[in-house]
């Protein structure tokens, strides 16, 4: 992945709007936080391959970045995004990483379903 280029990401969001796209949205602390010094329980959520259609999608912020997708009946939102890439399968992958390189948040859009195990 590369550090987010806002113009490039905005162009990729525009290219996918007004049509059903598959969404992967995720945030994670990792599963082992209970073993850390603060002994916090993990907080993790993901949605994979939900279909959404957005009329307006915008990337904002000075970095880390935010993305909002305006749906007909609601919103998709992510904050903390730092890196992006368009995969070989033409998926737009946006992610946030902490200083150790661990993924903290992901927002991904694809015309085709994301691969399942």
């Amino acid at each position: 992945m590369h550090p987010i280029d806002r113009d490039a990401v905005q162009a990729e969001l525009d290219r996918r709007r007004d049509q059903p796209v598959y969404l992967h949205l995720e945030t994670t602390t990792g599963s082992y936080t209970a073993l850390g010094p603060e002994k916090k329980p993990p907080v993790i959520a993901f949605v994979r391959n939900a279909q959404v259609t957005y009329a307006r999608g915008v990337v904002t912020g000075p970095g880390p970045y935010r993305v909002g997708l305006k749906l007909q009946d609601g919103w998709v939102y992510a904050d903390g995004l730092t890196d992006f890439v368009v995969s070989e399968r033409d998926e737009l992958l946006l992610a946030g990483h902490d200083p150790d390189g661990h993924l903290t948040v992901a927002l991904q859009l694809s015309m085709r379903p994301f691969r399942e195990a």
């Binding site: 599963s31 073993l35 993901f46 998926e91 992610a95 390189g101 993924l103």
Partner: protein, 258 residues
């Protein structure tokens, strides 16, 4: 003041039972059943290599591709979509180091506990019937920190339980996390595997799981250790420890599952 008793309470003067040594020469086959690529190396890589050295067939039945992990390498070289194939390749490499054959159950990472345990246990049982191992290694249900670990631990236990008496391999369970809390709840581990002869290969296999272990090794190499790193190094030097789990023992984890 508590009165000393002879029932094995913590204040009892009776010496703690010494764990039995793990003896590869007594094994016919070893099957390791855990959910993620790298669980095998962390928990029992040294024991797997010892068995392979003794000519004992070693198989790792891996539940998922670890595709929902948050570790992407340091610096990150994987992403959410490439992680699956990267971890599969890392597993192949680690198993080559340890002398094991890898097989996949193909479940979705983080979602093992939401599957029907009986259905997955039937698939594990079929592998046990095919390979006829003398020992199965799995996580101890309820003492394995990660929800996938607990869930596949129970599934492995159900698989062994479902076999007819006389066809059941010995079930060795791995407890992870707070070892003192585990000892308080479960007692001393029953089996200790001395991995002093294979610890180098265990470390090589850990390094093969590069996306997951690179951050840890960066800290090791810079001599900066967090609590998890310290606990792991202590465990590495202390050998691999297992609890003998009766397949018919109903754990609290099993009792409380939906």
């Amino acid at each position: 003041m508590a009165t000393p008793t002879t029932t094995g309470a913590p204040y009892d003067a009776t010496p703690v039972a010494t764990p039995a040594p793990f003896d590869p020469a007594a094994e016919r086959g070893l099957l390791v059943v855990l959910p993620h690529p790298d669980d095998e190396t962390f928990s029992s890589g040294g024991t797997m290599a010892r068995c392979a050295d003794a000519g004992v067939p070693v198989t790792y039945l891996c539940g998922t591709y670890g595709d929902m992990g948050r570790r992407m390498g340091r610096p990150a070289f994987a992403n959410r979509e490439s992680l699956r194939d990267i971890r599969e390749r890392e597993l192949t490499e680690a198993c080559a180091v340890l002398g094991a054959e890898a097989r996949m159950l193909g479940l979705r990472d983080k979602c093992v506990e939401f599957e029907d345990p009986v259905e997955i246990a039937e698939r594990v049982r079929a592998v046990i019937e095919e390979l006829d191992p003398s020992t199965v290694i799995a996580f101890y249900p309820g003492f394995a920190v990660h929800a996938d670990h607990d869930a596949l631990g129970l599934i492995a236990q159900l698989a062994v339980r479902s076999l007819p008496a006389g066809r059941r391999p010995r079930l060795l369970a791995v407890a992870v996390g707070d070892q003192e809390a585990n000892r308080a709840a479960l007692g001393e581990p029953d089996v200790l595997s001395d991995i002093s002869g294979t610890v180098d290969r265990k470390i090589e296999a850990l390094r093969a799981h590069r996306s997951q272990t690179e951050a840890m090794f960066v800290k090791w190499d810079e001599d900066i250790e967090d609590e998890q790193g310290k606990a792991f190094r202590d465990r590495l030097l202390g050998g691999e420890k297992f609890y003998l789990l009766d397949p018919h023992h109903v754990t609290d984890y099993e009792r409380n599952r939906p």
